[in-house]
Amino acid sequence: MANLCPEAFPHRQSAHCESGVVSNLLRREGVEVSEAMAFGIGRGLFFGYLPFIRLNGLPLVTYRSVAGRIIRHFSKFPGISLQQKTFRDRRRAMVELDEALAAGRPVGLQTGVFWLPYFPRALRFHFNAHNLVVYGKAGEDYLISDPVFPAPVRCPAPDLERARFAAGALAPRGKMYWFQITDELFSPRLHIRAALDGVCRAMLGSPFPLIGVRGMRFLAGRLVRWPERLGHQRTILHLGHIVRMQEEIGTGGGGFRFMFSSFLRESAELLADRQLRAGAERMMQAGDEWRGFAAMAARICKERTRPGDSCLALAASLRSCAAQEEAIFWELSRWCREGR
């Protein structure tokens, strides 16, 4: 693609849009934070099964914390300040975007994906918590560094405006944000322990049975009964939905567990810590188990089952994921307390 001026913004493709945007925006400010590190210290990892929230009539399963959480955690770190704006007026939102670009400041935007013309057809659902960076304007087109794309892309102004004001759940209301570094000495390593502690508490300590490790077990219990409660056709749809939430673009695979493992390994190197390295390895095994779960679910969806594939086996696999993660997070939370 011609004249996208890629040198104007250090675009790097990433797996998850929010951590990718944070990582790319911070790199522009001169702070090197990898995507996995951004995901980790932004406390991105989570699990929740929330059947009372429906997406296209299917229960919400989430493998990460709620959209916008990573950005919010970063805004709380000393040394980084976050400027954030939402708008009522569409024109005002576009004018302010143009002003920021004229001042040479790339900004992050929250958008819906349905209205973005450069997205492949297959991914254009009504999902409103996508993040991207706008870094320039050429004529009527905006130059966009979308973290899930291999290279910068262009988007016509009317389409971007529509995407910024997508309606429905998680409506972005033109949200625009950028980071300022107020302290040159900001370093991600200072925040690893607190972030890990937060993730452990979310995964182990929730009083609600639908959250964290308990949520996985709850889902396993539900899953077994789906064939008789919902019938074959609906069961397949539900299973496909779980796998999509887990493996669809933006997750980095294995329901974010691989990305988190990468974060643990990076932390282990930064802090020269053996225990974290072991945690990374075990988290990777948990990710593999998740992938096995997804592969089996997909075989059931496609009705190409192998011997031993059934909802019962799926539930067993899910319980094994839960057991593995429970062990990992207990270990990590002990590590967090020791270091204090």
């Binding site: 291999p150 397949i236 990305m259 990468s262």
Partner: protein, 137 residues
């Protein structure tokens, strides 16, 4: 429709983390087979809904607005929010009887939203959804 292709992302390469040499690393690829299976399944659902809606429009049970709503994966309440009209009014407009009496202003809103002309709506022409039109670079 290219639903039988193994990769439905139009050849877009995505990053995912994979276990290589005992460590998890970002890796560029075309998507994992099970993901493509479930993605295709989800699109099959959307296409089934569109086909059902087409039949109902042809049978005169619902207005062509119902087709455009379904084709663009909206529900009446989401459509209402995009068109800035109350939900009950949008639900009425889904019925042919009320759709024929829709105001010009409402029709213009719907047409703009779906990227079609008002004449398409009044003539009941069923054009492809927004995401299937030409893609910009």
């Amino acid at each position: 429709m290219a639903t039988e292709e193994p990769d439905i992302n139009d050849g877009l390469t995505l990053v995912s983390y994979v276990a290589e040499d005992g460590v998890c690393q970002p890796h560029q690829g075309y998507g994992w087979q099970p993901v493509n299976v479930v993605n295709r399944q989800a699109w099959q659902e959307v296409e089934n809904a569109i086909a059902r809606s087409r039949e109902m429009v042809d049978a005169g049970i619902v207005s062509c607005l119902h087709y455009y709503m379904t084709a663009n994966q909206m529900t009446p309440s989401l459509l209402a929010r995009y068109a800035n009209r109350p939900g009950w009014l949008v639900r009425l407009h889904l019925r042919p009887f009320f759709f024929r009496r829709t105001s010009r202003a409402s029709l213009a809103r719907y047409a703009e939203l779906f990227g079609i002309s008002v004449e398409d709506l009044t003539a009941g022409r069923l054009r492809s959804p927004v995401y299937q039109r030409e893609r910009h670079g």
